[in-house]
């Protein structure tokens, strides 16, 4: 199964992944349009100082999608089909970990599709794509 693996201890919070992601999909450098998010880990509980919030392709969010816009591809990656999505935001509520994002400018939510661009851009090796 293809998904992004995260090693929190290596993340230095530089934000390159967020920028690469939003640029790839929305043609702008806007971390609010990124499918991977960095949070400073002020509450502890993780190994490093930062927490990376990105989908791990469990598929739970797809269950309540009425138009069946959320489907799994041959690599085990869950993708939103924008032509079918009606922008209801239900999937966001369904993902317990909050790994689907939306932006008020955009008609449909977005999530990580495990393309690996961010992993390639990450200078510390905190992100890796598993096959």
């Amino acid at each position: 199964m293809r998904k992004l693996l995260v090693d929190y201890s290596l993340c230095n919070g530089c934000g390159r992944c967020e920028i690469v992601c939003s640029k790839a999909f929305y043609k702008e450098e806007n971390m609010k349009k990124s499918a991977i998010r960095i949070f400073s880990n002020s509450y502890g509980g993780y190994h490093g100082q930062y927490r990376l919030a990105v989908c791990d392709q469990c598929g739970v969010c797809a269950r309540m999608c009425t138009p069946m816009a959320l489907n799994v591809d041959a690599h085990g990656v869950w993708k939103i089909d924008k032509s079918k999505c009606v922008g209801c935001l239900i999937c966001i509520g369904e993902c317990e970990r909050g790994f689907i994002y939306y932006h008020d400018d955009l008609p449909t939510p977005f999530k990580c599709i495990a393309c690996g661009l961010c992993a390639r851009a990450c200078p510390t090796g905190a992100l890796r794509l598993s096959e």
Binding site: M64, T66, G87
Partner: protein
């Protein structure tokens, strides 16, 4: 199937066609409605002025406004000028907040002869809006069965004869979806309004509003149940209305500020995802989650509202339906974005009776009302019969609530020997005979037998039983659970004074959608005084009316609540959700509103509706009188079933001990009827009505609905009561 569909379509004869100009929705409104006259086959557009929007908001408000214009005080339900108005509302069609796909349907009812409003899910309302119209008026009568096709992308309307299609909804909607969709996926873009064979033969005909269920691969049906609008529909010879719209997304309302909508929607989605399984289990079993709860609190109507519980309820508890019948784990929203997803269904249900016997079908339900009305109230504690009856009500176009309550009444008459096999044509109406319950529907569908008498509704049944079968009028008046001609919905209100008012003081007839106060009243004892009760009977009917103005569902308001709701100022109002609604309203329309504005918007329409029913010959205090069974025990058995409670009440409230049961029943009745009248006084006063239930002129002026034609309706009544103000002379 394709070739069969070609054959059906080949029989269509186009009667008229109408092209209209596309126009983008602005902040929730098209500012345009559609009028179809089926007698002359003319189609026209109407502009919706700013004033109409300000006074009537949308949905039920628009429906009543247009209906008022269409009819006269003499209009009968089957006169051609009677209309069916289908309207959604300014919020309708957003996908981000749960419950935003409702349509409100208004017409002069064959049961009550008054304006009725009925609220329904399905995709038709939003599609009608995206196609360019805020309301659809259907007037006149076609010569033969027709279908009306609205193509929201091509901006085209066609009316055609449709001689060959089925009439029963479960077949008709599949035929039409196949006919109008390009392929299977495209069926999501088709929404259909239809009724059924029995609707033509009974006063309780309803309308089905469809949506395509992608996961199940079948068309689902939601019902505009109350008041017999399906009969009007079939009387106009409409087989179906089809609206096709491709390209649904969350922004079609062109909202003023989407941020507000998104934020509110997401808050609720999360709440549902986190709390539903801890609260009402709506996602698992929908409204049927309360069957056993109602039984536990003695509120489940059993055997025609005689009792509030029965040991057999365990056989039809929500657990049974979840475990054995209702398909689990699928999204069942009646419009996009409803994460509460209560529109459950039973798949592959095997029918045992009627024309479709032996077939496996998808049953839309059971909703609580169906299980309680068709089940407990008729003594049919059997899930299979409940589902069979549920299915046939839907496909035949019958209101499950009226069907349940009417059958319960007929069964009580049968079990008491008031009517016999001779009257029923050999149909055994012993309590719990599910087969006979279904046979009544089959008779309505075929247009024959005792079903044709039951199908007239309780008011007419009472008349026939008295005039033709020699029944005791006073007794039937006591036990026949109708008021204003409409059958009661399925809650036992006998022990809750507030709910007695909640039912009896409804404009359209006794339906719980205006006020559901039983728990607040008797379980939590939150309303000890008449004034408290009156306040609740002022606030809740208005607040709940608001949903019908906007095109919203009220279930996501209080069938899920924020985890910290109980710490809020007024948990019964769910303040957290009211805040969401204010935000969503502002987000779509651009108009910020406060709690008072909500009540004002509703009060205009609510009061207008009261004047409307007055105009149609009802709407005075005498018309708000309920059958005694809704206030207290009519029979000895009923008294004995709650003897300790009644004895105690007599002793404490009436202040004396009485010996015989009959005497106690009479004394209790006297006291309870007095209590009810005191409640009516308090409520009318709070609502700004006279003691005869007439809205005062000052009230109409305050609300800005003192239109001359409205004032002229109330004037003679106000004059007669001495409430016509000097300044108005």
């Amino acid at each position: 199937m394709k070739s069969e569909i070609h054959l059906l379509a080949g029989q269509h004869q186009q009667l008229t066609e109408y092209k209209y100009k596309p126009k983008a929705i602005y902040r929730g409104y098209n500012n345009r409605s559609l009028h179809i006259d089926l007698s002359s086959m003319t189609i026209k557009e109407k502009q919706i002025s700013r004033e109409i929007k300000e006074k009537f908001t949308g949905g039920r408000g628009f429906g009543l406004y247009y209906l008022w214009q269409a009819v006269t005080p003499q209009t009968h339900w089957d006169d051609p000028e009677n209309e069916i108005v289908i309207a959604h509302g300014p919020i309708s069609g957003i996908t981000q907040y749960p419950g935003a796909g409702k349509s409100l349907v208004c017409s002069i009812s064959p049961l009550t002869h008054l304006p009725i409003d009925s609220n329904v899910g399905g995709h038709f309302g939003p599609f009608l809006k995206f196609s360019g119209f805020d309301a659809l008026e259907l007037q006149g009568k076609a010569g033969n069965d027709v279908i009306i096709f609205i193509d929201g992308n091509e901006h085209l309307i066609r009316i055609m004869t449709a001689p060959r299609e089925a009439i029963d909804s479960h077949i008709l909607v599949e035929q039409l979806s196949e006919m109008y969709a390009i392929d299977k996926d495209d069926k999501s873009n088709i929404a259909i309004v239809s009724s059924g064979t029995a609707a033509a033969n009974s006063n309780i005909g309803m309308l089905n509003f469809s949506f395509w269920d992608k996961r199940r691969g079948c068309v689902r049906l939601k019902q505009a149940g109350r008041g017999g609008i399906g009969r009007v529909f079939r009387d106009k010879h409409i087989k179906a209305i089809i609206c096709c719209f491709r390209g649904v997304n969350g922004d079609l309302n062109n909202p003023a500020d989407k941020r507000l909508i998104n934020a509110a929607g997401l808050r609720l989605h999360k709440e549902v995802a986190n709390c539903d399984h801890l609260q009402n289990n709506m996602r698992k079993i929908g409204t049927a989650n309360i069957i056993e709860v109602m039984d536990q609190y003695d509120l489940l109507p059993c055997y025609n509202y005689q009792y509030g519980s029965d040991p057999k309820t365990q056989k039809i508890s929500s657990k049974v339906f979840i475990e054995k019948y209702v398909t689990q784990g699928v999204p069942d929203g009646c419009w996009y974005g409803c994460s509460l997803s209560c529109s459950k269904a039973v798949d592959n249900f095997l029918l045992r009776t009627g024309p479709y016997s032996g077939q496996r079908v998808c049953v839309d339900g059971p909703e609580y009302e169906n299980a309680a009305g068709l089940g407990a109230n008729t003594g049919t504690f059997d899930p299979d019969w409940i589902l069979e009856a549920n299915f046939y009500c839907d496909t035949y176009g019958l209101d499950t609530i009226s069907m349940g309550t009417m059958t319960a009444f007929a069964m009580e008459c049968f079990n008491r020997g008031i009517i016999t096999l001779k009257h029923t044509g050999g149909l055994d109406l012993t309590w719990g005979n599910g087969e006979s319950l279904c046979e009544l529907m089959h008779q309505m569908s075929r247009g024959e037998g005792f079903g044709m008498i039951v199908g007239r509704g309780i008011r007419e049944m009472k008349r026939i039983f008295v005039e033709e079968y020699g029944a005791d009028k006073a007794f039937l008046e006591d036990i026949g659970m109708e008021q204003k001609g409409l059958e009661y919905s399925e809650y036992l209100m006998k022990e809750s004074l507030a709910q007695q008012g909640g039912y009896a003081l409804c404009n359209k007839g006794p339906q719980h959608d205006e006020a559901w106060l039983i728990f607040m009243d008797i379980v939590n004892n939150q309303m000890p005084t008449f004034e408290d009760k009156a306040e609740a009977l002022y606030y809740f009917p208005l607040f709940r009316t608001w949903f019908g103005l906007l095109g919203m569902c009220k279930l996501p308001w209080n069938d899920i609540t924020p985890a910290d709701n109980k710490y809020s100022d007024d948990p019964s109002k769910v303040p957290g959700h009211i805040r969401n609604y204010r935000q969503v309203f502002e987000g779509v329309t651009g108009k910020p509103i406060d709690d008072d504005d909500i009540l004002k918007m509703s009060d205009r329409v609510y009061t207008f509706q009261r004047v409307f029913i007055l105009r149609m010959g009802s709407g005075q205090r005498c018309h708000d009188k309920p059958p005694y069974r809704s206030l207290g025990p009519v029979t000895k058995e009923e008294y004995l079933s709650r003897q300790p409670r009644y004895d105690k009440q007599l002793k404490e409230k009436v202040g004396f001990d009485i010996n015989g049961i009959e005497e106690r029943i009479a004394a209790l009745r006297h006291w309870r009827e007095q209590q009810f009248e005191k409640l009516v006084d308090a409520v009318y006063k709070r609502r700004g009505w006279t003691p005869n239930g007439i809205p005062k002129l000052q009230k109409l002026e305050e609300l800005g609905i003192d239109f001359p034609e409205v004032v002229s309706v109330v004037k003679p009544y106000l004059q007669a009561e001495g409430f016509w103000p000097d300044y108005a002379e």
